[in-house]
């Protein structure tokens, strides 16, 4: 991340800064950790469709495939699930999809399954338009960048198999850096527009937005209505949320502010997970923020783990 803090002078300096930012090779530990976490999230997300696979993807679907295709009419979206309705085939494809996500999580044939995981995730999202929310946006983002970067180099079955064959080389990869940067920028854009959207609402300015989130019984999982008895705290949390989201894109890149920015992210998303019933979304965004944790932490964990084995 020090790549970002170095000031660029002149166009040569700008090119060098661009090179440092995007193309300095990076060890795979951080992306590998995120592969395990995001892979598990992808697996669970798709496992839940199996509770009523026919009801979401089959002949008795809430949103039949014809309607799903019509909702994407005139767009470039594609889903192989638009062409499948037979229950047995649907189940076979769904089990295959779960197997791909499981393989991604444990890191077996990572290079291939990461690309397959992206294609599968996109197909499910396009087919299931109408029942999606922020979790699916995270899933697609994570699958996309895990397909770009070399995320199976460590903490994976692939790495274990390589070691068994006597191959101990671990090479920093440029693709890992590119994937990391894309993921980081994507997170910044999500929060920037999340903040801009809130800044357009009166309730986010008068300090009562948190109340209307807390008093939302369809979301609520643990009571948060006590917050109304503490108006200054309620308003403070509301205001901090707006400012934190809007300026995340600036503060997260400053080494002196990064951990504070991530600490607020942790609190906000834990709050969403615990109080607002969106455990998966809250966890997903915490995983997403982990892309900004210092690379050295992961390298150190990796080195410790390797010394310990």
């Amino acid at each position: 991340m020090s790549d970002v803090a170095v000031p660029a002078r002149g166009w040569r300096g700008a090119v060098a800064a661009w090179d440092r930012f995007w193309f300095r090779p990076e060890m795979p530990h951080k992306l590998a950790a995120l592969r395990m976490a995001a892979g598990a999230m992808l697996f669970y997300t798709h496992l839940v469709w199996a509770v009523n696979l026919d009801g979401f993807l089959g002949r008795r679907a809430w949103i039949p495939r014809d309607l799903s295709r019509a909702m994407h009419e005139g767009t470039w979206a594609f889903s192989y699930l638009w062409y499948v309705e037979h229950p047995a085939l649907l189940w076979a494809l769904h089990i295959a999809a779960l197997a791909v996500f499981a393989l991604l999580t444990i890191g077996l044939w990572t290079r291939v399954v990461s690309v397959l995981a992206l294609l599968i995730t996109l197909s499910y999202c396009h087919r299931l338009e109408g029942s999606l929310f922020g979790l699916d946006q995270f899933n697609t983002m994570a699958a996309m960048y895990l397909a770009v970067g070399a995320c199976g180099g460590v903490w994976s079955v692939d790495a274990w198999l390589r070691r068994r064959r006597g191959i101990f080389e671990l090479t920093p990869a440029v693709s890992t850096k590119v994937a990391t940067r894309l993921w980081q920028i994507h997170m910044c854009i999500i929060y920037l527009f999340g903040g801009i959207g809130k800044a357009r609402g009166e309730l986010w300015w008068d300090g009562f937005a948190l109340w209307y989130a807390a008093a939302n019984s369809e979301y609520q999982s643990t009571p948060l209505t006590w917050i109304i008895y503490m108006p200054p705290l309620m308003a403070l949390i509301t205001h901090v949320t707006v400012f934190w989201e809007t300026f995340y894109i600036a503060t997260i890149w400053r080494p002196s502010l990064r951990m504070a920015t991530l600490a607020v992210a942790l609190l906000v998303h834990l709050g969403i997970a615990v109080h607002m019933g969106m455990i998966t979304f809250g966890l997903a965004m915490i995983i997403g923020n982990a892309i900004f944790l210092p690379q050295s932490w992961f390298d150190r964990w990796g080195s410790s783990a390797e010394r310990g084995t």
Partner: protein, 232 residues
């Protein structure tokens, strides 16, 4: 060792195939090469690709943020969105990221009423219903569907202000057809799942109590006064 060459680690306590240097005991990042093994040409191509991609992530929420309604976004954003549309659609990037924005508003549910041809009593329930739908993510999927149905709603007759505008009437017709298609699909799904002879669905808005209502009038979060049937 070349600046961008492999780094040798000793795994499982076994001797590495390469001699372990003192530097390899440091954390990996400390010995990571500074240089990039990619050629300038490759970096240039990837630079263009990542710029296109970052633009594709940025443009949809930017267009959404500048929008005052369907097709009424900033004249700067609209042509950009048109150019990036294929890429954005393909990679499922068309999002606004307006979570709970601009204000945390009311929820939109679906009341289902069932009549059976046999002796079973009539049933009525709301979707989503936490007592029927588990795990929580499964419940949330149903919640999002009822919200989507609401977002697609178009009135059964064209609004008076557009009846003189054929293009607007056509847009209204398409919107109404799409809404009815989804509503009827929901009905068919519920009928198939429950075996009911007749199924009625009604959109229901559930708003939050204001702080005054909650504190002074004792209106709870699920008070019947907070629910309102919406027209079909």
């Amino acid at each position: 060792m070349r600046a961008d060459g492999p780094i040798t680690f000793s795994m499982n306590g076994k001797r590495s195939t390469k001699k372990r240097s003192d530097r390899s005991r440091q954390p990996a990042s400390a010995q990571s090469p500074q240089g990039c093994p990619w050629s300038i040409r490759r970096r240039a191509i990837v630079s263009v690709l990542v710029s296109i991609h970052v633009a594709a992530v940025f443009i949809p929420p930017f267009t959404f943020a500048t929008s005052r309604g369907p097709g009424e976004a900033s004249p700067f954003a609209v042509p950009l969105m048109r150019v990036w549309q294929p890429y954005v659609d393909t990679l499922f990037l068309n999002h606004g990221y307006f979570f709970f924005s601009p204000n945390p508003g009311p929820n939109h549910l679906l009341r289902v009423e069932l009549r059976f041809g046999d002796d079973r009593p009539a049933e009525s329930y709301l979707i989503p219903d936490r007592s029927r739908l588990w795990p929580r993510l499964y419940y949330h999927r149903h919640f999002m569907m009822t919200e989507t149905l609401h977002s697609l709603y178009a009135p059964p007759e064209p609004p008076p202000e557009i009846v003189e505008d054929p293009a607007a009437v056509q847009r209204w017709r398409q919107a109404r057809d799409r809404y009815e298609w989804m509503r009827d699909s929901f009905v068919r799904h519920i009928q198939a799942e429950t075996g009911a002879d007749r199924v009625w669905v009604t959109r229901v808005e559930h708003r939050q109590p204001t702080p005054y209502e909650f504190l002074e009038e004792g209106i709870g979060l699920t008070d019947p006064r907070l629910y309102r049937d919406l027209p079909d």
